[in-house]
Amino acid sequence: MDELQQKKQMLIQTYKRFTRRELSPIDMQIDQDGMYPVGLFNKVVATGLLSTTLPREYGGAGFDFNATSDALRIMATGNASMAVTLEGHFKTIEQFIKYGNKQLNDKHLPSASQRIFAFSMTEPSGGSNPLGISTIAKKVGDDWVISGDKIMITNGGLAQVYCILCKTDDDQMAVFVVDKDMPGFSFGKKEDFIGLRGTPVGEVVLNKVRVPGYHLLGKVGQGLEIGDNAHADARVLMGAVLAGITEHALNVAVDYSKERKAMDTLLFQMQVTQEKIADIAIKRQNIVNLYRSAANNKVANKPYRELAAMAKSYGSRAAVISGDEALQILGGYGYSREYPVEHLIRDARAMELAEGTIEKMNIEITNAEIAK
């Protein structure tokens, strides 16, 4: 095994150990409480997981998306909420690495191993159509003054640094970095979603928040490009999370079918069950192949947006169906909140919407195919 491969295996082992010890035992509790228990996030920070993708020059480990996506898949087999919390952080870090100026990165990135960074596009008027946004950034001297309302932000409330997609006063799109401690920044409503109930999703209200000029991420006019890039990165990692959720459903279904008898026959020996288990396993492997293809292309600097859209479009539907099939194998127990399967369906369902709906993914995939 070469050094790169060895480091990746070690990273996966750390994620596996952390998941087995800290997340899997409280997976159901996180869903039922609708939040992470006190102290859990501190353990994530203490274990250095926030620094997984952070470049080494900023104190991070600098793992690429190939290793990171596999690590998130492992985490999602135990708890998808925390995997999505990390996904939101990692995709935001990627935009700093790609678009951030030196002063901005030197100021903020060293803290990214301790603090969550979030990316925020959606507004009450719409999600996937950033042209309709109304958050305004006005140039005042060398600074920018930002006002507006951003909703449904992954890690909203938990994150301390926010990338905000704005319209400038000359009607161009731009992304600005805002720290939660800046005057005029406040948190709004926390969403009460039916799935991924550990991941905080919330609102940020900006009332004339003044940021220095170097807090502009990339350039004025580059806002949509950065937003698209953030979406693509998120979709690769969400593909990995969806593979993890599907694997979780598969594990529960397989274990149950090896124990439970119907008419003196173990469930897994019955053809009707075998069809379902095989279908879930095939779906799991397809999602893995899609997100890995996207991650490998990203690492190799090859086009990956279409593959990322496929990973999330196919992955989210396949994970929901897999959860449903696992529920059917478990029968009444699958429909009960005493077993995790029902919450896996709700968790996967979130990703048919987040980071662009399935319909939006399929438009992008079609456009890419038409253009070929």
């Binding site: 480091k7 082992q13 150990r17 620094s51 104190g59 991070g60 480990a61």
Partner: protein, 258 residues
């Protein structure tokens, strides 16, 4: 404080199978990981270092691929690592393994403490640590659940003997094997995983160690494994008796066929 931790690679969890024809353990396909008890030993060493200063050195015997386990230990926080690797070391029992490790320990130079996990998860003998202590003629404490520093030359060790805890003071240099209850081993953080590849890892063979060829590997082994097999799994039925004494007695009499 110079601390050497002896570690071993074992197949992950229960992925090991027994070949019914050869009675050997089939390790192909099973991912190798550090023996879980050894992680407790490394954690103990790191805590001793944090209190007393010094260095934590890892030592392992096995094929070149065992460097992976050493990297794990370095990522936990150990300072350096040594692999004793040679075809001549192959097939060693606990006696030959201990002999080889002792040669490695002597070459590394006088440690204050030598730590082991209480046993390996795959072979379960728990013998190598105590044999190393005997070969070096130093005191030993097995089954440790607590290791405290009393002075620069003395440690206090709680030994968990299942029915009682024995508190012993042990003069250094000493050898200690630890139980898994002693601590919760720290995670290898992503940053420390990357940094572990910058730490020194040395490989020695039998010539480097200047060992007696009759005492290493299969040749130096005194035990022969004649058979390894998976025990037959038996499940037994449990019956819950009625709370009423009379009914319970009737059930028992029926069951006993009296």
């Amino acid at each position: 404080m110079k601390i050497i931790v002896c570690v071993k690679q074992v197949p992950e969890n229960d992925s090991v199978k027994i070949d019914p024809k050869t009675n050997d353990m089939v390790r192909t396909g099973a991912q190798g990981v550090m023996n879980p008890f050894d992680r407790n030993a490394i954690e103990t060493a790191l805590e001793l270092k944090e209190k007393n200063g010094g260095q934590v050195i890892l030592l392992i015997m096995g094929p070149d691929s065992f460097t992976e386990v050493l990297r794990d230990g370095l990522a936990m926080g150990a300072d350096s690592a040594y692999l004793l690797s040679s075809k001549e070391f192959g097939g060693a029992d606990t006696l030959a393994t201990a002999y080889t490790l002792v040669a490695g320990i002597k070459k590394i130079g006088k440690p204050d403490v030598i730590l082991f996990g209480r046993q390996s998860e795959d072979a379960d003998t728990g013998q190598v640590g105590p044999i190393v202590a005997e070969d070096l003629n130093i005191p030993q404490a097995t089954f440790a659940t607590k290791v405290e520093t009393i002075s620069a030359t003395t440690l206090e060790v709680d030994r968990d003997l299942e029915s009682s805890i024995q508190k012993v003071e042990i003069k250094l240099p000493a050898e200690i094997t630890v139980r898994s209850e002693i601590n919760f081993p720290r995670y290898e953080t992503p940053i420390n995983i990357v940094k572990s590849f910058d730490k020194p890892l040395t490989i020695w063979n039998e010539k480097d160690l200047n060992v007696d060829p009759d005492k290493i590997g299969k040749k130096g082994s005194q035990t022969i494994v004649t058979k390894v097999y998976a025990p037959k799994k038996e499940t037994k039925q449990v019956k819950f008796l009625s709370k009423k004494a009379g009914d319970a007695a009737k059930t028992i009499i029926n069951e006993l066929d009296l």
